[in-house]
Point group: C2
Chain length 479, copies 2
């Protein structure tokens, strides 16, 4: 190790304490590889500051020495945005020690948390005062709220509560020069100039490190009803959504769709999950209604709406969950899509979002084009139909993915098909997963050059030396 790196380790240890600095070696392994195992980087140190002031000092120390900084939450991201690149001089900053719930107010419906809080801890802290924090996603047991904010995480509650951006009232962040942006205010409205906090939400740590936030809470759902609906197509699912909206308004909580092929993959590869219904149609829709009041009968309007839909030829078959166990069994199918896909081959997954009315054409066209171009691809789909966000996944037999170069070419070919169809339908290539490393070339290809110019301008403004999470969103030459 070079002398300057030895100096850096000592300097960082002087700020956060010896035991909170991890030098390169085996102990760094969990922090320099993304959880999917697709990216591996290097770091002179992984540092765990214990306070906002320490984060600021670490950042300033790095900035003064032109060391690149990689903020990392729970390392559960889908696009490699929290993994360092291959330069040896990176400093990974983890906020694991900053996980206090500073305040929770059932009166104001707010919670103030440090960025290292695990998402499930935030949910639990809300629950402990009879409130509800709606953000919910597969990694909620290990992802950190700072990462959720930095990636503007989506999940299964967006339909009703919006993405993470809509849940953030105020935030605190350390800027690339070590100064502290103090927007940690519990204010429901604020029109004092430009909306600076919005810059840090979804910026994937490229403009600063989110260190704390004030989040919105809600009344917990106390009544619910769930059904599985069998359908001929995506258009029918949208028609059911429209009918339910007319009947129950914003009681519509979740609308998750899966293709028959998606469920077949689960049936083949995830033996511990039983599919509690027969596969007789091309599409399957999970509908959940919720209400903040206890004792509200939601089964009746759900049953009525879906019976009407069957009569009108929109739904083919309907299963109402008559108890919690049945509801859980249906959700279990939805929750094993990632596991099933991973076991079925090399996964080329997509996160496109299109206007709601365009979803039916989008999935039809994109499947036909992928199959025509790559006949050995198996196309499966699942997603959030009320958000316009159906994940299209091409599963490739691993026999076709032995050579990295061939695999990369195949992935690029499929991505291009999906991205072109997304653009043709007026959509965007990432609804909720972000850009990170995975999608930066694709973003550069499809984005309006003016958008990229404005983004690069903002990046330069806040991070003129390009030290904050370099190589993410834009590629290495951003600043």
């Amino acid at each position: 190790m070079s002398n300057s790196f030895q100096d850096a380790l000592a300097g960082l240890a002087a700020i956060v304490g010896d035991k909170h600095v991890i030098a390169s070696g085996a102990d760094q392994e969990p922090y320099v590889v993304d959880w999917r195992g697709r990216y591996r980087g290097r770091a002179v140190a992984v540092v765990k500051p214990g306070s906002t002031a320490e984060v600021a000092s670490v950042v300033k120390y790095c900035a003064d020495r032109r060391l690149a900084i990689v903020p990392q939450g729970g390392n559960t991201g889908m696009c490699g945005a929290a993994t360092p690149d291959d330069h040896a001089g990176n400093v990974v900053i983890r906020l694991d020690r900053m996980r206090a719930v500073r305040d929770v107010s059932p009166l104001a419906n707010t919670i103030t948390v440090e960025a290292g809080c695990i998402l499930a801890e935030v949910q639990n802290a809300a629950r402990s005062v009879d409130r509800y924090f709606p953000l919910s996603l597969g990694a909620e047991g290990s992802c950190q709220i700072g990462g959720n904010i930095s990636t503007n995480a989506g999940g299964t509650a967006v339909l009703r509560y919006g993405p993470t951006r809509d849940l953030v009232l105020g935030l605190e962040a350390v800027l690339p020069d070590g100064r502290i942006f103090n927007g940690l205010r519990a204010l429901r409205k604020d029109n004092t100039g430009y909306a600076l906090k919005q810059l840090f939400i979804g910026a994937e740590g490229t403009l600063g490190i989110v260190t704390a936030a004030v989040l919105k809470l809600f009344s917990p759902p106390r009544s619910s009803a769930l059904a599985l609906v069998k359908l001929q197509g995506v258009a029918q699912a949208l028609e059911i959504m429209a009918r339910l909206r007319g009947m129950v308004g914003d009681r519509l909580g979740s609308l998750e769709i899966m293709s028959r092929s998606q469920i077949e993959v689960i049936r083949e590869t995830v033996p511990h999950v039983t599919i509690p219904f027969e596969l007789t149609t091309p599409w399957y829709l999970i509908v959940e209604l919720t209400d903040a009041l206890a004792g509200v009968d939601l089964d009746e309007p759900l049953a009525t709406a879906l019976a009407d839909a069957m009569e009108a030829g929109i739904a083919e078959d309907v299963t109402l969950a008559s108890n919690l166990a049945q509801a859980k069994a249906i959700w279990a199918v939805r929750h094993s899509v990632s596991e099933g896909n991973k076991r079925s081959g090399y996964v080329v997954s997509h996160d496109s979002v299109v206007p709601l009315e365009r979803q039916a054409d989008f999935v039809t066209n994109v499947e036909a084009r992928i199959v025509a171009a790559v006949p050995h691809a198996r196309v499966v789909m699942h997603g959030h139909i009320g958000d316009g966000n159906i994940h299209v996944i091409a599963l490739i037999d691993r026999a076709h993915c032995q050579e990295p170069v061939t695999t990369a070419a195949l992935v690029a070919q499929i991505n291009e098909i999906v991205d072109d169809e997304t653009a043709a339908q007026g959509g965007a290539i990432s609804a909720e997963h972000g850009i990170g490393i995975t999608n930066r070339v694709r973003l550069a290809r499809v984005a309006d050059p003016l958008d990229i110019e404005l983004m690069r301008g903002i990046k330069r403004l806040l991070d003129p030396n390009g030290l904050m999470n370099p190589g993410k969103i834009f590629g290495a030459g951003a600043a």
Copy 2:
């Protein structure tokens, strides 16, 4: 008029047509004075382009000749943000001719409108397809949606639906150099890089001109219940809010509070409004519950919750509106606060927002400090208690406001009291009205210098020559 101004009139007319350019003179009067009559500016021309392309051409024409541009919506703003300054070279751009509803989708719950649409027209277009656009405010019959977006307008539906920012899915804007930012996408989620559209929302036209937007629609409220509650204080109003949330969740639609002094002013000066209740307590709360379903009995839970509150000594008296006429009579009081105040003296109004729990201390302290410093001031209050936004208004007898210099000093003195107390309670000086001209000195005094530095950086990035709505938010030396 100088030759260069004559050239400019000809050049602008060549873009938009002769009859859409108003040269200086009496015809300009409605556009160079704000509606409250507090600011008067000058303009070489008021221009009314008919399309986004024409807006872009006008802006580029002005930018090339270093003419300042003042975007103006319906000219109903509270802070002078749409009024030109005193330089003769300003070009005011009005979007009155761009008022098409381009698309409305009840399926996707979206509406696509041009920026010159009157807010009431947007509401009506939604209603025509059995949908609801919730933004609602006093000026809705004349304000334009572009102005609402540019000022991130608030109003009476924020408690449930959020401010305008939360209602904008996509937008299109003309940048200060005449290029078009094309973010007019009907997407519910989008994580492809920085949230550029957020920059233009609430920027008061200082970063570009919003020309069109895609907005969220909702299911219309079909059931409602309304009550007037008499209270001893603000703390009690918050306690009632918490109890109602526990009982009815997000059916809580409006929570508007008025001080006794506020209602007395209306009783004295607005003869056409009858106060349909006796003034026996210091505070009055309007509570409205709504539900998207028809036929939902909301009177019962409202009556129960408020009866419980009376029993617990939290509410002093409750009047349930038993029909629409009674509800309207109660709302009429709330809607005449501005008229009443204007007739009662010189109005020094404030728009502070504080964390919800701080509102009781805030109003007590601020009233005591104003009355101590300016014994002849009459302090009245009304506002949105669920948003933390109680408007504190000092009414000054016009006898004390004969001399502009004395008046200005008095206003500054009162503002300083309110701003200091706002800061002490962790609040912000503008919840919904914005900064414009009125509040720019106050913002500079109370804001974190880092925030101002970041805002100025963004301003310079998008508008390096400082030509877009100069003198707003920052004062004239912004760029």
